[in-house]
């Protein structure tokens, strides 16, 4: 038993959970081609959820701030990207991959830039006055979310908005019985690149070192001579930009969005950061992949259980590890 535990630890330990989930799903699904299609869909969905969740996890870990308004950035990101893509419809529909990429880059950049600026303002105006007061944080950020949703309603209307997909991302790759949407591969790749960039910043730069230390003990970081509140503004703005970027990608995935997109995703985002462990990028990635895979497998195997499956997953993990899979503070 001990040697098995050692072997599992050497192979990756808790990081193997998504692999374990995939193996169990393969046995239950039976068809390798269906399983592969669902797995790729789950991984890409997981990566988009990771984009939305990672910033919130760091914000919670670093400053103990409960930001229910995070989903407003997801919603705005989605609608801004939809508007930019609609405005660049000629590039989006063109046969040129370069023009398609430029349109997509413009949409994602606009969403992320909005998230960065709005996140900075949100922190200064809404969050700063309620540091260290969870009840007021919940109330004021919920209020801000309602206001944000009403602004979206006023700007984009109450009808669902269509999100055009760039031409080169519209098709599917067909390999035998396996059909893979190109958009999902792209979303997975973008999520992976973002994770690697975040990982590099957090582990190879002095700012990253300060963020990791601040998540553990912000008071001690200040006693070493650093202004954690200034660091927090930056983390909040980047986290909001990532949420907006995730919203933009999710809009392209859904292709039809409503003002409730952020609120709908927020439940999943909270499940992810709780499963993963607060303040941990690695935990957010692990949690997001688990949630993405679980959602797709259960939707296929037992559609009526799809909504409940992630809640059950969260409860099971919390019973096993009350602080999540990879919490920043042990």
């Amino acid at each position: 038993m001990k040697s098995l535990t050692t072997l599992v630890e050497r192979l990756g330990g808790i990081n193997l959970l998504p692999v374990l989930l995939a193996i169990i799903a393969l046995v239950l699904i039976g068809s390798p081609s269906t399983w592969l299609t669902l797995t790729i869909a789950g991984l890409s969905m997981g990566m988009m959820i990771f984009l939305m969740a990672s910033g919130l996890s760091l914000v919670f870990g670093l400053m103990d701030v409960l930001n229910f308004g995070h989903s407003a950035f997801i919603s705005f990101g989605a609608f801004i990207a939809a508007s930019v893509l609609a405005a660049l419809a000629v590039w989006v529909a063109a046969d040129s991959v370069l023009l398609n990429l430029l349109a997509l880059f413009a949409a994602i950049s606009a969403a992320a830039l909005f998230g960065l600026v709005a996140g900075w303002m949100f922190e200064r105006v809404i969050i700063k006055p309620v540091y260290r007061d969870h009840l007021r944080q919940i109330l004021i950020t919920m209020g801000a979310l309602i206001v944000a949703e009403q602004i979206i309603l006023a700007i984009w209307g109450g009808s669902p908005v269509a999100v055009p997909r760039p031409n080169f991302l519209s098709g599917s790759l067909i390999m035998g019985d396996v059909t893979i949407e190109i958009y999902r591969l792209f979303a997975f790749g973008l999520g992976l690149v973002t994770y690697m960039a975040l990982h590099a910043v957090l582990n190879r730069t002095r700012v990253g070192l300060l963020v990791r230390a601040g998540v553990e003990n912000r008071e001690m970081v200040e006693a070493l001579g650093f202004r954690i509140d200034r660091l927090f503004i930056g983390v909040f703005a980047v986290g909001s930009a990532l949420a907006a970027m995730g919203g933009a990608m999710w809009a392209g995935y859904e292709t039809l969005i409503t003002g409730a997109i952020g609120s709908e995703m927020m439940i999943i985002v909270f499940i992810v950061i709780i499963i993963g462990g607060l303040g941990s990028i690695e935990g957010s990635l692990l949690g997001a992949l688990m949630v993405g895979l679980m959602g797709n497998y259960v939707a296929f195997l037992a559609p009526k259980m799809a909504l409940a499956s992630n809640m059950i997953l969260m409860m099971a993990i919390l019973l096993w590890r009350p602080y999540g899979l990879r919490p920043a503070v042990k």
Binding site: L209, R212, V221, A223, R227, V329
Partner: protein, 246 residues
């Protein structure tokens, strides 16, 4: 002939400091005069206000009244990070180690620009060889004594004018405490130390001056030699006699 220690210019002064935590009045009219150089001890039993005094100096809790002066400059209302950057290091009772970081990362955080002064690093390795051995290990994996070494080494990695150390011997084995005595003597050659302690034997071996705090008030201050010689005073202030510990 050198001036008596208590007549030296103070590096740190607390002048009638009051600190409240929520509705509780913790410090009452605390005045301290910490001369430059050497080790100065703040003694007191549990809950007397020792930790609150250090945290108030660092700005982690705000003084409600009174003034705290460092080299003559009023730092009472300054931000913790600004106080730290003036050259004051703080080693809290819980050591404040970042367990998720390596020993090297913990040390690097305490440097001003992210690079190490190799001479200082060698001195630290000499004082605490375990830190060199576990340099790339996670700080979680260190023993309690090694974590305390890391906490103190972090305060030494840059030139500081004053180090505030909160009960460094708490829970440590006697052999490690001896190691700490040597380390503090080494540090005190270039830096003033304000040491908060309950362990009188340890404090006596290092301290030049001593203040005793009780119920948030300074009950006595003077030289350590006076307190060591006056058994009646020890008994009255600390409910102990050195003889009982020898």
């Amino acid at each position: 002939m050198s001036a008596p220690i208590l007549e030296l210019d103070p590096i740190l002064e607390l002048d009638n400091v009051f600190t409240d935590i929520a509705q509780y009045h913790i410090l009452h009219e605390v005045s301290l005069h910490i001369p430059e150089g050497g080790v100065h001890v703040l003694l007191g039993r549990n809950g007397a206000g020792k930790t609150t005094t250090l945290r108030t100096i660092m700005g982690l809790w705000q003084a409600k009244q009174g003034a705290i002066r460092f080299r003559g400059e009023d730092i009472t209302k300054q931000h913790t990070s600004d106080i730290a950057r003036k050259g004051i290091a703080y080693v809290p009772e819980n050591m404040g180690i970042f367990g998720g970081l390596t020993v090297e990362e913990n040390m690097r955080l305490a440097t001003l620009d992210g690079s190490f002064d190799q001479d200082r690093l060698q001195r630290i390795y000499t004082l605490f060889p375990a830190l060199e051995k576990f340099w790339n290990s996670s700080a979680w994996s260190l023993s309690g004594g090694q974590k305390q070494m890391l906490a103190i080494a972090r305060a030494m990695i840059e030139k500081r004018d004053l180090i505030l150390i909160d009960e460094p011997t708490k829970g440590l084995a006697p052999a490690i405490i001896l190691n700490m005595v040597e380390a503090f003597r080494e540090i005190a050659r270039e830096t003033t130390i304000l040491l908060v302690e309950q362990n009188f034997l340890f404090a006596r071996s290092l301290g030049q001056t001593v203040a005793v705090i009780d119920d948030g008030r300074i009950a006595h201050s003077g030289t350590m030699a006076e307190l060591v010689e006056d058994v009646a005073l020890q008994t009255r202030l600390l409910s102990l006699s050195l003889d009982a510990h020898q």
